[in-house]
């Protein structure tokens, strides 16, 4: 299974009926493809839509119905649209149950860095800082390492996105929770050992007696 599919499928298990969920671009977007059949989740696009659906069939796009990346989407029955002030009121005001965002680095206390690589990549933070600061629950979806370098680090070298600590990181190797205030290994992917996770991680991990295998 492709690393991003492992990550998306595992995160999809965190969704439940009726939740309001905001998915970032990249791997997080894939989570919507793995929603269990029959489950109804409200997906928010921060450009002003709740009820974001999959891209329309060719020839059926509407120029004023797009996601936060400007790509054509559909609006599911029960969708609503609103201006950007309300969209970020939903986000900052704690009305969004879960946001899933990509990550460049996560430190062992749960700080996420995902918006800038000074001098290299300066895209702007867009909605990321508000999402991490305001959503009820924050999950980072990212590959465990980048070009062999650990992304789960002792302390973020990149500028962090928010002082608010995230709840969980899901990678193709492991599920790591920050609920206790320290990076705790909850699950490993099928066929991956705890030792392999530790070797690919710079952050100090709390390893409980029992580490579950990721259910996919």
């Amino acid at each position: 299974m492709e690393p991003q599919v492992v990550i998306a499928r595992r995160i999809a298990k965190e969704l439940s009926n009726g939740m309001l969920v905001n998915l970032g671009i990249g791997i997080p977007t894939l989570v919507a493809n793995h929603l269990p059949a029959g489950m109804h989740v409200f997906f928010q696009s921060e450009n002003g839509l709740i009820g974001t659906g999959s891209p329309p069939e060719e020839g059926m796009t509407h120029p004023a119905l797009t996601d936060a990346g400007g790509r054509p989407v559909t609006a599911l029955p029960g969708a609503s649209t609103f201006d950007s002030a309300m969209s970020f009121g939903l986000i900052r005001g704690g009305h969004v149950d879960l946001t899933v965002l990509g990550g460049l680095q996560v430190d062992q206390e749960g700080h996420l860095a995902n918006w800038v690589i000074p001098g290299k990549m300066v895209p702007g933070m867009g909605g990321a800082m508000d999402l991490v600061t305001g959503a009820k629950r924050v999950i980072a979806a990212m590959q465990h390492t980048a070009k062999g370098a650990a992304k789960l680090v002792k302390k973020c070298k990149l500028p962090i996105t928010s002082l608010r600590k995230i709840d969980m990181v899901v990678t193709e190797l492991a599920v790591i929770s920050f609920r206790s205030g320290r990076a705790t290994l909850l699950e490993t992917a099928p066929g991956v050992t705890t030792a392999q996770v530790v070797a690919a991680t710079e952050a100090e991990l709390v390893i409980p007696d029992k580490v579950a295998v990721m259910a996919l």
């Binding site: 696009s45 921060e46 450009n47 002003g48 839509l49 509407h62 120029p63 004023a64 119905l65 797009t66 936060a68 990346g69 400007g70 609006a75 649209t81 609103f82 201006d83 950007s84 002030a85 969209s87 970020f88 986000i91 900052r92 300066v122 895209p123 702007g124 933070m125 867009g126 909605g127 990321a128 800082m129 508000d130 600061t133 305001g134 500028p159 962090i160 996105t161 928010s162 002082l163 608010r164």
Partner: protein, 215 residues
């Protein structure tokens, strides 16, 4: 509210003006106002908007024509030309978290001095800004934003200037309509007064100064 031609509407904008422009990745951006600004070669503009779109669309056209001296935006990641001009020192870019940007504009339009937000604390966004403690929680004080002009794209405008917006083209438009000293509106459709029912008016007519005619 006064109806003006496209040419007249942009002729009102002096060089060096600050412009709030609606749109999110060019969706809901008044393209024909942008094209006319480029045609009339308005220079040294300060642009306050969500993003600078992509090259060749929306605000991307202003950037490509080098008409902006400053951009106050949340995202430039999809416009390499904005990044190039920023790194070359040709364009000043102030990056603002999207929720802070829209709420600062809302505050500007609603007669408030600023916004207290937790967003940006502990990040480079807090540099040089005042922190305020309320009930034991710390917030950044973000001053309200206004502009000389708001350039708004509506879906429907009636003869009086009542506006409604379509789907995700609403985004910044109704918010900037409150925060521009002069509000210029371009609409997909101009309809007789009464066609937009009172409950569906999203920007009330008295807020609008100029409606750009179709011709």
């Amino acid at each position: 509210m006064q109806t003006v031609s496209l040419e007249q509407s942009v002729a009102m904008i002096p060089d060096g003006a600050s412009l709030m422009i609606g749109g999110f990745m060019a969706v809901g951006t008044p393209e024909r106002l942008i094209d006319e600004i480029v045609r009339q070669n308005k220079r040294h503009l300060t642009v306050i908007a969500n993003d600078t779109a992509v090259p060749g669309r929306g605000i991307g056209k202003l950037i490509a024509a080098k008409l902006a001296k400053k951009a106050v935006v949340s995202h430039i990641g999809l416009n390499p030309e904005t990044q190039r001009q920023m790194l070359a020192g040709e364009l000043e870019v102030e990056l603002v978290p999207q929720g802070t940007l829209i709420e600062s504009i809302r505050a500007g339009g609603y007669g408030l001095g600023g916004v207290l937000t937790p967003t940006g604390l502990g990040t480079p966004v807090e540099e040089g800004k005042q922190k305020v403690e309320v009930k034991g929680k710390t917030y950044l004080l973000e001053p309200a934003l206004r502009a000389d002009f708001a350039l708004v794209q509506a879906f429907l405008a009636d003869y009086l200037g009542n506006l409604s917006y379509a789907l995700t083209a609403r985004n910044f438009n109704p918010v900037i309509a409150m925060a521009g000293d002069t509000v210029i509106v371009s609409a997909d459709n101009i309809v007789p007064t009464g066609v937009i029912s009172p409950d569906h008016v999203m920007t009330p007519a008295p807020v609008v100064d100029y409606l750009v005619s179709n011709s």
